[in-house]
Amino acid sequence: MSKLRDSFKKGEPAVLLTAAGLAAALLLLGGMVVLVAVSGLGVFWPKSLVQFETKTGKLLGEVMAETIAEPRPGFPGGPRFNLRVANRDIYAADFMWVNGFNVVGRTEPADAWVVERLEYGNFHGFLSEVRTPEGAMASSEAARTDAFDKAVAASEKDTKKGPEIVFTTADGKAVVIHAGAVVDAWQPNRMGTLARTGHYVAALWNFLTGNPRESNTEGGIWPALFGTCLMVLLMSVAVVPFGVMAAVYLHEYARQGVVVRLVRIAVSNLAGVPSIVFGLFGLGFFVYTIGGSIDRAFFSDSLPTPTFGTGGILWASLTLALLTLPVVIVATEEALAAVPHANREGALALGSTKWEMLRRVVLPNAMPGILTGMILAVARGAGEVAPLMLTGAVKLAPKMPFDADAPFFHLDRKFMHLGFHIYDLGFQSPNVEAAKPMVYATTLLLIIVVVALNVTAIVMRARLRKRLEGHAF
């Protein structure tokens, strides 16, 4: 007891409470990262197919989760399995709950197939017939698999044509899939860890470089990835020169006084202005005012269909450039301020003009800081969604903003964006459950990109500070 009183007197419980605050914050962050990582990383892993024999029929699927249900009146409780049964065209839903007390038998049939199809998502079942000459001859399962592989390899990809292949579901229903509609097919229960890893890497690659299908819930995210990169690139081209110019003006040219201090406060406050306000500006000024004027001046033939008078990648990039301007200005100013006076005075003493001093001495020294600002701006731009919704990001862009058609860059085109892709998949897609794997994978990718950029910036800034601390003495 006296120990406790003693501890209270020293305020130790209060210290523990503050520590609990920090622990909670860190756990929240860690929990979120782990949640996204687990949900996102597992998406492409070929899970084993489990066949449940229940009192009502057979189900073949991947076990996504297993819970224990509390018994209720009229419900015995016990284990429940969340089964990804796929076969959306037959069961209507991708996922099903199976009650443990209904299960009679549980097996992992080696000859079970997962077929990734162009339509209706994945298929789980067994290969029963390949309608090619070779397939007709095949009597063993291995021969059928062979014939299947050849048929798929021979037929044109991404078409719904090609020889018919007959699969049966776990409860014996026949499903015909054309060889051309098969995107990928594998027998997870026959795969070892190595084969699964190989499949995982291949699926990941397809995810990064493929085009989306089935209203974005299947396939890859290449257009969104490309759109994000191009938008961020255009944004950097716009924001870095102007941001650096403004910072150099503020720090090197403007007479330091109340006005400059006010301007500095205003600029740093801009960073706190909600991004949606920038979106409003982008829509009202870039899209309607500037874009509308360009349309009236140069594209009056196609009016009232707007060319530049509607959202597009150019307007989105410029809007984000304004949004990230304070980031670049603040970082550049910080870097300029950190360049020691001795260096400037040395340059001036050697007879250089102010511009030569800036160009040869100050800017090279400030370069890591400027780069840090740019990276932070890029990270912010990559993760921002709200202003893009108003200025040109779309669910599905029919054409990329950069392609082989002259003039190659189509700045008026709408584009896809990772962040918007996530929003759209999670909220606008008709089948949210089916979209979940894609949405988590995309989220993980976005987080990796943003965190990597931020870590780079933080490390660079730390190094810069350390170096300049050395200079100070």
Binding site: L4, S7, K9, K10, E12, V15, L16, L17, T18, A19, A20, G21, L22, A23, A24, L26, L29, V36, E70, F242, M245, A246, A247, Y249, L250, Y253, A254, I265, N269, G272, P274, I276, V277, F278, L280, F281, G284, F285, L325, S352, T353, K354, W355, L358, L376, G383, V385, M389, L390, G419, I422, Y423, F427, T443, I447, V450, V451, N454, I458, A462
Partner: protein, 758 residues
């Protein structure tokens, strides 16, 4: 002196300055030029960028400014008819002005020159004919009644032709319906009102001094179906019909009769059904001299002989009540003399009212604002109407003059009361604040109360701060004062990265993961706080019992953080496990049912609690970083002094360090507030975006930012909604800018103070 003859350029003399050689001079010149150019460019560019940044917000505000602009009314040509005007209307191109005169003639005048294009006798030439007009998008239905009890109709439609130069000419087609005998007794028709129904059917209310009937006929038909309205109670008391109006609401006709004793009667009828008296209301003690229903047919505007103008519509006693009564919604400014004509605007719920001296006004019914006044003409106004596109107002008077006015009022519904106060909308039981920007029908009235959005925004912020402020401040105190530097060097950047996480990700997890989880385990969520208190109390006791050297060692390493983390995790685990037990012990086995029955609270899975948690997640690092800086920057000398006087670390923290850092902590809270106010994606995804005024943590809300994101892509450029959204964006900007500026000023003061002290 060495001279090399072969060299055309003289070599520099040793005693001469190297810099005066021509190349050097050019180089210097070039350098100076470059310096000047660069200086100028940077000055222009830099200033330009700064000006552009300011211009952004000026622009956003300026887009909202037209909301303040009042109506514009400019007098156009004044046309002249031969006799008093009984009804007047124009087509959608404002090419021809048609009017029925009290002689029973229909004249079509050129709207610009006033030339008489056409004259038709609707009724046999006589005196004291009365008429009304129903202006439709495709034509105008005139119905005229004569002093000998006959009723005739004229259907005037504009016919448009384009010639080779694509010049438009509009001519008016007139289709006459021969006079039909309505009053068997041959008495006079003194008032008439009519509506066109299903292309060619006419529903007309007809009144004489002691007579009231309904006539239904098809255009061009030779006979009408007449139903005399039996209202002996009305006429026996000596009242007379002074005004008449018919509204059509889908397929129900509503006939309003204004009486000389100040009452208004309401009859309802369908096309094939006999009309019945439904209601009689006291409007005034004076005769009701003018009546009309506004677009949609629900709102009735009455004008009396002493110039009072009021609006009425059906109000149910409660939202679920079946029946409704006409209720006085608001009184408008008096017109000062007997109101003779009320004409409903063709778009939006405005109306024009005129009086005996020919002066008038355009009011907006929903807000009660007077939009514009119209000067007197000298003669009593007898007829008025708006053009189908609502861009022209016509007024005819007893002397036969027809005045035309070009009229434009794009944003009548955006008054201060509409945006920030309560308004009584059609269908509501009382004045209310409401946000409902789009509806299914053409005559839908947008309800644009920014207050609702501001409320939603603040609600979200309150819940976010409730969750994040304790965690962030505790974490900041611990990090700044107790965490070993080595670990701090990792912890701070980690939480900075937390601030950089895209909000779309946080919103997604909140909506797709947290919200179903919380719904399933609501009892566990409730059990979280007691569970944490329990675990924490255990931690305190265990800590006190630990040997001194362990405590010392842990205090100077990550040990304290570790055991606290374990306590937090245990608290979460405990709450998760106890959820079922708690639910059956305290909430009768079903939390949601318990909440509904005991507290009367509904549960929306995407609610303020979830948003508070998710937005709190985004706000924690903002508050943490600034607060931690503020606490860290308190000079070490203060620490040293306090400890030298014998205070413990915690006493120093509470009594010395925290008071000194208060302004900085305040700045951190302001920044967190600013971040939460403007957050878009999290609220957009984690709430149902329902614009309701309800503080319950288990309901959603709609914030300014989410509302902009949802609605502006659909808002037509320049529309009232578009501008109102820009206005709310400006508000958002002003809020956050103020927060950030206050925070910045406070923080910089603090920096200067301790800059000196340290």
């Amino acid at each position: 002196m060495t001279v090399i003859d072969s060299d055309p350029q003289p070599a520099p003399a040793p005693h001469e300055d190297r810099h005066s050689t021509p190349e050097a001079v050019t180089r210097l010149k070039r350098a100076r030029l470059a310096d000047r150019t660069a200086g100028r460019l940077i000055r222009i560019g830099g200033l330009g960028v700064l000006v552009a940044v300011v211009a952004i917000f000026v622009f956003v505000g300026a887009e909202a400014l037209p909301l303040l602009r009042g109506a514009r009314l400019t007098q156009g040509p004044e046309l002249k008819a031969a006799s008093a005007v009984a009804a007047v209307a124009t087509d959608e191109y404002v090419a021809g002005v048609s009017a029925v005169l009290d002689t029973g003639e229909l004249v079509v005048l050129d709207a610009k020159t006033g030339a008489v294009l056409r004259t038709e006798a609707v009724l046999p030439r006589g005196r004291n004919a009365v008429a009304s007009v129903d202006v439709r998008p495709n034509g105008q239905l005139f119905v005229a009644g004569s002093a000998d009890g006959k009723l005739a109709a004229a259907w005037v439609t504009p016919k448009v032709k384009f010639d080779a130069q694509r010049v438009r000419t509009v001519t008016e087609d007139v289709e006459l319906t021969e006079p039909l005998a309505i009053r068997e007794d041959g008495g006079a028709i003194t008032r008439v009102a009519a509506r066109l129904f299903e292309e060619d059917k006419v529903f007309a209310a007809v009144a004489g001094p002691k007579h009231l009937s309904i006539a239904r006929f098809k255009l061009g038909a030779a006979r009408a179906r007449v139903a005399t309205l039996d209202a002996p109670a009305v006429f026996d008391q000596g009242a007379e019909v002074r005004s008449l109006s018919v509204a059509l609401i889908t397929d129900v006709f509503r006939v309003f009769v204004g009486l000389s004793d100040g009452r208004v009667l309401r009859f309802d009828a369908e096309w094939s059904e006999e009309p019945a008296l439904h209601e009689s209301i006291e409007v005034s003690k004076f005769p009701v001299t003018a009546l009309d229903t506004l677009i949609g047919g629900e709102t009735l505007v009455t004008g009396t002989s002493e110039g009072r103008v009021a609006s009425w519509f059906g109000v149910r006693a409660s939202t679920n009540a079946q029946s409704w009564d006409l209720t006085r919604i608001r009184n408008f400014n008096d017109v000062g003399a007997e109101a003779t004509v009320v004409a409903a605007s063709a778009r939006k719920k405005g109306f024009a009212v005129f009086c005996v001296d020919g002066s008038g006004r355009i009011d907006f019914a929903t807000t009660g604002d007077t939009r514009v006044s119209i000067p007197a003409s000298g003669a009593p106004a007898t007829a008025a109407s708006f053009s189908p596109k609502n861009d022209t107002l016509l007024v005819g008077d007893a002397s036969g003059r027809i005045r035309t006015f070009a009229y434009s009022d794009p944003h009548p519904e955006a008054s201060v009361t509409a945006l920030f106060g309560k308004l009584w909308y059609e269908g509501a039981t009382e004045p209310e604040m409401r946000w409902q920007s789009t509806g299914g029908t053409d005559d839908f009235e947008p309800k644009l109360s920014i207050s609702v959005l501001v409320f939603g925004t603040l609600k979200g912020v309150v819940f976010a701060l409730l969750f994040s402020v304790p965690i962030a401040l505790l974490a900041a105190i611990y990090t700044a004062l107790f965490l070993p530097t080595r670990i701090k060097a990792i912890v701070k950047p980690t939480l900075e990265i937390m601030a950089a996480l895209p909000s779309v990700v946080v919103g997604l997890l909140a909506a797709l993961w947290l919200s179903p989880l919380a719904e399933r385990n609501l009892a566990s969520a409730f059990a979280m706080v007691p569970s944490f208190l329990l675990c924490f109390a255990t931690l305190v006791v265990v800590w006190a019992l630990l040997p001194r050297h362990v405590r010392n060692a842990w205090t100077h390493s990550a040990g304290v953080l570790g055991v606290s983390a374990i306590a937090v995790l245990l608290a979460v685990a405990l709450a998760a496990c106890c959820g079922g037990v708690v639910e059956s012990m305290f909430f009768g086995g079903d939390v949601k049912a318990w909440m509904r029955e005991t507290l009367g609270l509904g549960y929306d899975p995407r609610n303020a609690m979830v948003v508070g948690f998710a937005m709190g997640f985004a706000v924690i690092p903002v508050i943490f970083t600034i607060a931690e800086d503020a606490i860290s920057n308190v000079p070490k000398s203060l620490w040293a002094a306090s400890e030298a006087l014998g205070a413990s670390r915690w006493q120093t923290t509470i009594r010395v360090v925290l008071p000194a850092a208060t302004p900085g902590i305040f700045a951190a809270l302001m920044l967190g507030f600013g971040r939460a106010i403007g957050e878009t994606m999290i609220v957009l995804m984690a709430t149902g975006n329902t614009p309701i005024l309800d503080m319950s943590p288990f309901n959603g809300m709609r914030t300014i930012s989410a509302c902009i994101a949802v609605e502006i892509p659909e808002a037509p450029h320049g529309d009232t909604l578009y501008r109102v959204l820009f206005l709310s964006g400006t508000l958002l900007f002003v809020f956050t800018f103020l927060c950030n500026t206050v925070a910045e000023v406070v923080a910089s003061r603090l920096r200067r103070r301790y800059g000196r002290a340290g």
